[in-house]
Subunit: 334 residues, 2 copies
Amino acid sequence: MTVTIYDVAREAGVSMATVSRVVNNNPNVKPQTRKKVFEAIERLGYRPNAVARGLASKKTTTVGVVIPDISNAIFAEVARGIEDIANMYHYNIILCNADKKKDKEIRVINTLLEKQVDGLLFMGGAVTEEHLQAFRTSNVPIVLCATTDEQGAIPSVDIDHEAAAFDAVSELIAKGHKSIAMISGTLQDPANGYARFQGYKRALDTAGIAYNEDLVRVGNYRYESGIEAMKYFLELADKPSAVFSATDEMAIGAIHCIQDYGLKVPSDISVISVDNSRMASMVRPQLTTVAQPMYDIGAVSMRLLTKLMKKESVEQSKVVLPHEVISRQSVVSV
Amino acid sequence: MTVTIYDVAREAGVSMATVSRVVNNNPNVKPQTRKKVFEAIERLGYRPNAVARGLASKKTTTVGVVIPDISNAIFAEVARGIEDIANMYHYNIILCNADKKKDKEIRVINTLLEKQVDGLLFMGGAVTEEHLQAFRTSNVPIVLCATTDEQGAIPSVDIDHEAAAFDAVSELIAKGHKSIAMISGTLQDPANGYARFQGYKRALDTAGIAYNEDLVRVGNYRYESGIEAMKYFLELADKPSAVFSATDEMAIGAIHCIQDYGLKVPSDISVISVDNSRMASMVRPQLTTVAQPMYDIGAVSMRLLTKLMKKESVEQSKVVLPHEVISRQSVVSV
DNA sequence: CTGTTAGCGCGTTCAA
DNA sequence: TTGAACGCGCTAACAG
């Protein structure tokens, strides 16, 4: 039923090795026979079988990427960066959603490895011992993308989340704010959660502002949780004059909550966050936020992976990309 | 280096056929030998090679899905529906971004087919003759997801975009609006573009409202293009009293543009759209929009594909899911 | 420049 | 209930 390389060989009157050569762009083929082969391919509608090829060559020219949540704009942007570089190097990517669940992450890593991907890009939350366990059983390179492991054993590319948060909060402090609330992610999440919280505390600390537990709420990164958290702050006897949100989406929730209470951003309360997702410009007032170079994180990590796959030497296996605060309209001096 | 089924066989003191049986849950294995084999697998850290398996069995338990734009929330939601059902039936999915470009779509379809996926889910814009061409060369089932082909030759699941637009505009008309502008998608896009535009015209027509070319702008589905289009309308001598946007994101752009002009939604201008993406509730005022059951479109199309892959008979290969207008805060009577 | 020949790792008869 | 042997479609030496 399906036409194989043998059929093409017969049709073109050559051996299968020759067909294989022209399909793989091997230069050692007389232009004339190459032409004959191409014609036979055309006539028969031959389509190379990537599975057989993968088995024979032990390469699949595909890299697996595990993404925590496909409907999260941040990760989608990272994925675009990955994609573009992958295309450039002629790798296909197979994207697997892991739903932010650890066991699904592990499962997905394993099926990807079973499928014999040539490399793996892991973006996700915490990198636990179980993850490392799964990674260790791999004989293809792996790079962490928008995450890091504690020990720094695995190549990774990310920003410095702690510093990004520090800079965001310092921006607020520079504008004269003293009562600064935080909408945090879960502290189990080392990057977007814990590290950003640490940055918040350090900024307060270096400014000599006392840390106040009542001014911190933990959200789940969603819009609604930003609203919930903000509601809590607005019911406080001493309302904060500014809010730092661990992510844009929660910040937007906070802004709308403030507005729903009849207050104004930024004149009544300033809001800043980290991410600079596309949504940051899609609110009024537009969100002041620390830009995380999502696309670049994807691109650089993919580039790093290609080097690893080709066994080229890499000067640095832990790369930290710069962040930058983008001033828009949601922060004002007090 | 890598441990194969032979290694396991030797370690367990059985033949490779037996190992294959236990790995594939074949019941014809004595419990005791099964146990021995499992232990050997454990000891050696054996991981079945899906590529070899695919070659031998001619099945990959993988379905390819081509997605037009991974950073579009609508498609991401469809993808979740696909995912969930795929998991339920033990298929892996390999997601390929096609960047909304026709040639990339074709290329991606071909590589997916080369990779011997067991089935293909295509979501995208227009289904051209070239697409059909590529589909015809496939010997695995294909279903269109959130699109349809003109001739209806290929199984598909979608909503009735024309009717959805008609209902949206009719909603406006029912509220007394007579001057209704439209922010359309490109007319080359049969579903989100052309069909929705047709629905707009038909609604006007059945209400006896004359169609006015000046009240239609074509956007590119992005926020900014919603702003641009709205700007145009606001500069008109006769400003419309309501706007119908082909998608939520452009509608949000329109809302913000109106607000930036110092006008109010909905008291000055009403806005309605189609999609009901998560963002619809993430604006003030919250967006009134026609709900497209994105998740269900994904789920149903994947379910349909599983049937096709198992060669089960399907009663209906063209399925049209219902839509519904969701009233929120952006539309008011005039 | 071209053809022959081994496998790649596994599923699957067919016998035993 | 188990094993031996063949073949899936292709790449990669090796010869010529």
